[in-house]
C-alpha cells in the first residue's frame, strides 16, 4: 500500500466524520480524537466508507492501490502487474462512462530535469495507450508529466525511487 493511498483514505475518513457531525446537530463540537491507525485499516472496507459512487474518492477506494503503476529505472514498458492495475482502472472507467481522467507521469530524483519531464510524459502515455487498448475512449484521457518535481516517497534510496517511478490515474470530479 502506498503512502499516497493511505493519505487519501485518511482524508476520506475525516470527510466521513465531518459529514456525520454535520448531520447530527447535537453532536459535541469537540470530537474525540481519532484512534491511531484506524485510518489505514478503514481501507479494507472499500466503498462502505461512503465515497460517492463514480467519484475520484470511489476510484481510489475501489482500485486499492491499483490507481498507480510502477516502472523500472529509465523504463516505460507495461509489465503484468501494470496490466492488471490498468485493467481494473479500465473496468471502473467503463462503469462510469461520463468520467474523464488525467494520467500523471512521474520519475525518481536520479535523473536530469529535462529528461525526466520527457520520461514522465512517456510513462503517462504508456498507461494511457494501455487503457485505450482496454476500450477506454482516448478522448477521456489526458496526460501530464511532473518529471521529478513531485516525489511521493521522500528518501534518497532504491525503495523510495521505486515508489516514485509511477504513473497515477486521477479521475476528474
Amino acid at each position: 500500500m502506498s503512502a499516497n493511498f493511505r493519505l487519501k483514505s485518511l482524508t476520506l475518513a475525516l470527510l466521513a466524520s465531518a459529514a456525520l457531525s454535520a448531520c447530527a446537530s447535537k453532536a459535541p463540537k469537540q470530537l474525540p480524537p481519532d484512534p491511531g491507525g484506524a485510518a489505514s485499516t478503514d481501507t479494507s472496507q472499500g466503498n462502505l466508507q461512503g465515497a460517492v459512487p463514480g467519484s475520484q474518492a470511489d476510484f481510489v477506494v475501489t482500485l486499492m492501490g491499483q490507481d498507480a503503476i510502477y516502472f523500472d529505472t529509465d523504463r516505460y514498458n507495461i509489465d503484468s502487474a501494470d496490466m492488471a492495475a490498468l485493467a481494473a482502472q479500465a473496468q471502473w472507467l467503463q462503469k462510469y462512462p461520463a468520467k474523464n481522467a488525467t494520467i500523471e507521469g512521474h520519475c525518481d530524483e536520479r535523473g536530469t530535469r529535462d529528461y525526466n519531464l520527457a520520461l514522465g510524459e512517456r510513462r503517462a502515455n504508456a498507461a494511457k495507450n494501455y487503457l485505450v487498448s482496454q476500450g477506454v475512449d482516448a478522448a477521456r484521457l489526458a496526460t501530464v508529466s511532473y518529471g521529478k518535481e513531485r516525489p511521493l516517497a521522500l528518501g534518497s534510496d532504491e525503495s523510495s525511487w521505486a515508489k516514485n517511478r509511477r504513473a497515477v490515474t486521477v479521475t476528474i470530479d
Partner: protein, 454 residues
C-alpha cells in the same frame, strides 16, 4: 608548485573509494575532481593585486544604495576585489586593508609605497558625480614593478547601474592580465526553491553574476523550471505549469508579460536560444515521444522539427557560430550526447566513454561541451566537440545542468543534497580546482548564465 599540487590531487581522486564519497557541501576548496592536466596554469593567477578605495574629486551624495561618492568609491573597490577573488583567479587585497590614495594620485600612483607592500599590480580609480545624477567611474591598472600603466577605462552610468561600472573595471583587469574575454558584467537566471521536498515552491529569479540585484519574477503559484536568458537580456524563456500543463513561456522583462512559445497543446520542455537570439529550440512531446523543434524567436512562422527518432530527443545547445547543435537523446537505449547541423541533418553520437551523458551545453568559445555525466553519481564534465578529452570537474552526489560563463572559462551548475533534496547553485573553473557555492537568498537550481553586457 601549483602544478605539483595539481598532480598529487589528481592521483588521490583516482582512487575509486574516495571518488564515491559525497563531498561535504560547505567545504568547496578540496573537492574538485580533476582528472587530467589543463592548459591554463599561468603565473598570473598568483599575482598580488592591490585594490584601494576609489577616490573622488568631491564627496557628494548620490542616488545609489552605496551612499556618497566617497562611500561608493570604497564599495566599487570591494566589488572588484570580490569579483577577482571569488573566482579563484587572483589573490587581490581589497580597500579594507590598504591606504586610500587621493584623487590626484589616481593617474600618478605612489609606486614606491606599493612596492614596499609587495603589490605587483595596482588597481586604482575614481568616482565622480556627473550630469543628471549619473556617475562617472574611472579605472586604472598599473604594473607596480615596472611603474607603468597597463590599461585604463571609464564609464558613465545611471545610479541604478553603479555596480556594473565595478564589474566592467574587474573585467578590464581580468582581461588585461589573463588574456581571456571578460565575464563579470553579466547576469544569471535561475529557479529559487523553498519548501519541503514533495511540495517545493519554484520561482523564476534573476541576479547579477555576483548575486547582487536579486529579483523574483514569478510568485511560485505555478512551478517554474529551466529558464534561459535571451542573449540581449530582454526576455527569459522558461517552463511553467501555469494552467496545469508544462509549457514554455517567453517572459518579457520590460513589460512583465509572457506568451507561449507555441500554441500547440502538447507539453513543451527545455527552451534554448540561438547565440544571435533569432531562433529558439524547444522540445515537444507528441503521444509520449519527445523531439526537438526550431522556431523563430520573434514568434510566428512554422516550427521545424529537427529530430525524428522514436527515443527522447531533448535540449539542444548551438555552437557559437550557430551552425551546429549539440543535444541529448536516448535513441541508443540511454541518455547520450549527439551533434547535428542546425537544420537537423548529420546527426551523430559523440559520447562513447561509459555512463550516461545529459544536458550538453556548448561553450561560448566553441572549444568545449559541458554536460552532466551520470555514472552512479552525477558529475559536471567537459569534452571537446568531437567527444574526446573527457575531463570531470566536480565530484558530488548529484551535480547537474552546466551553464557557461560568457567567456567559457567557468561552469555553473546546481547541486542537490542526498536525502533532503535541497539545492544550491555552484560554479567551478575549467581546472576543477576553484569550486564555490553562490550565495542566493533561498535554495537555487537550473542556473542559466547570460552573455557579457555591452
Amino acid at each position: 608548485m601549483m602544478f605539483r599540487n595539481l598532480t598529487v590531487f589528481a592521483l588521490v581522486l583516482s582512487a575509486p573509494a574516495l571518488a564515491q564519497q559525497a563531498a561535504p557541501p560547505a567545504t568547496p576548496t578540496e573537492e574538485g575532481g580533476l582528472s587530467g592536466s589543463v592548459s591554463d596554469e599561468n603565473d598570473w593567477q598568483d599575482l598580488g593585486i592591490a585594490i584601494p578605495s576609489f577616490a573622488t574629486n568631491a564627496d557628494v551624495p548620490t542616488q545609489t544604495s552605496a551612499g556618497s561618492t566617497a562611500a561608493l568609491g570604497r564599495s566599487v573597490a570591494q566589488i572588484i576585489t570580490a569579483d577577482l577573488k571569488n573566482n579563484g583567479l587572483f589573490k587581490p587585497v581589497g580597500p579594507d586593508a590598504l591606504p586610500q590614495p587621493g584623487y590626484g594620485q589616481i593617474q600618478a600612483p605612489d609606486f614606491a609605497t606599493w612596492k614596499t607592500r609587495s603589490a605587483e599590480m595596482l588597481v586604482q580609480g575614481y568616482v565622480r558625480a556627473a550630469e543628471g545624477g549619473q556617475l562617472t567611474v574611472g579605472c586604472y591598472l598599473y604594473d607596480v614593478a615596472l611603474s607603468q600603466q597597463l590599461a585604463k577605462a571609464g564609464w558613465t552610468v545611471a545610479p541604478a547601474d553603479w555596480r556594473r561600472a565595478a564589474h566592467k573595471c574587474a573585467d578590464m583587469v581580468y582581461s588585461r592580465l589573463s588574456g581571456e574575454s571578460p565575464f563579470f558584467d553579466s547576469k544569471v537566471a535561475y529557479i529559487a526553491e523553498t519548501g519541503p521536498k514533495d511540495r517545493r515552491m519554484k520561482r523564476l529569479a534573476i541576479m547579477d553574476s555576483d548575486g547582487a540585484n536579486h529579483r523574483y519574477l514569478t510568485t511560485g503559484q505555478a512551478t517554474a523550471l529551466t529558464p534561459r536568458y535571451s542573449p540581449d537580456y530582454g526576455s527569459i524563456m522558461y517552463l511553467s505549469y501555469l494552467n496545469g500543463n508544462p509549457r514554455i513561456y517567453v517572459y518579457d522583462l520590460a513589460t512583465a508579460t509572457q506568451r507561449l512559445i507555441t500554441q500547440s497543446r502538447n507539453p513543451t520542455f527545455a527552451p534554448r536560444w540561438s547565440p544571435d537570439g533569432k531562433w529558439v529550440l524547444y522540445s515537444m512531446a507528441t503521444g509520449g515521444n519527445t523531439d526537438i523543434y526550431r522556431i523563430s524567436a520573434a514568434g510566428g512562422g512554422t516550427p521545424v522539427k529537427l529530430t525524428d527518432s522514436p527515443g527522447i530527443d531533448i535540449g539542444g545547445s548551438f555552437s557559437p557560430d550557430g551552425t551546429k547543435i549539440v543535444f541529448e537523446s536516448d535513441r541508443s537505449g540511454s541518455q547520450q550526447v549527439y551533434v547535428m547541423n542546425a537544420d537537423g541533418t548529420g546527426q551523430r553520437r559523440i559520447s562513447f566513454f561509459g555512463g550516461r551523458a545529459a544536458t550538453p551545453e556548448w561553450s561560448p568559445r566553441g572549444d568545449q561541451i559541458a554536460f552532466t555525466h551520470i555514472t552512479g553519481n552525477f558529475r559536471i564534465a567537459v569534452i571537446d566537440p568531437s567527444g574526446g578529452n573527457l575531463r570531470t570537474l566536480t565530484d558530488s552526489w548529484q551535480d547537474e545542468a552546466p551553464t557557461w560563463s560568457p567567456n567559457g572559462r567557468i561552469v555553473q551548475f546546481f547541486r542537490t543534497a542526498r536525502g533532503s533534496g535541497r539545492t544550491g547553485i555552484w560554479q567551478v573553473d575549467l581546472t576543477g580546482r576553484n569550486e564555490r557555492r553562490l550565495a542566493t537568498p533561498v535554495d537555487g537550481s537550473d542556473p542559466a548564465w547570460g552573455p557579457v553586457r555591452p
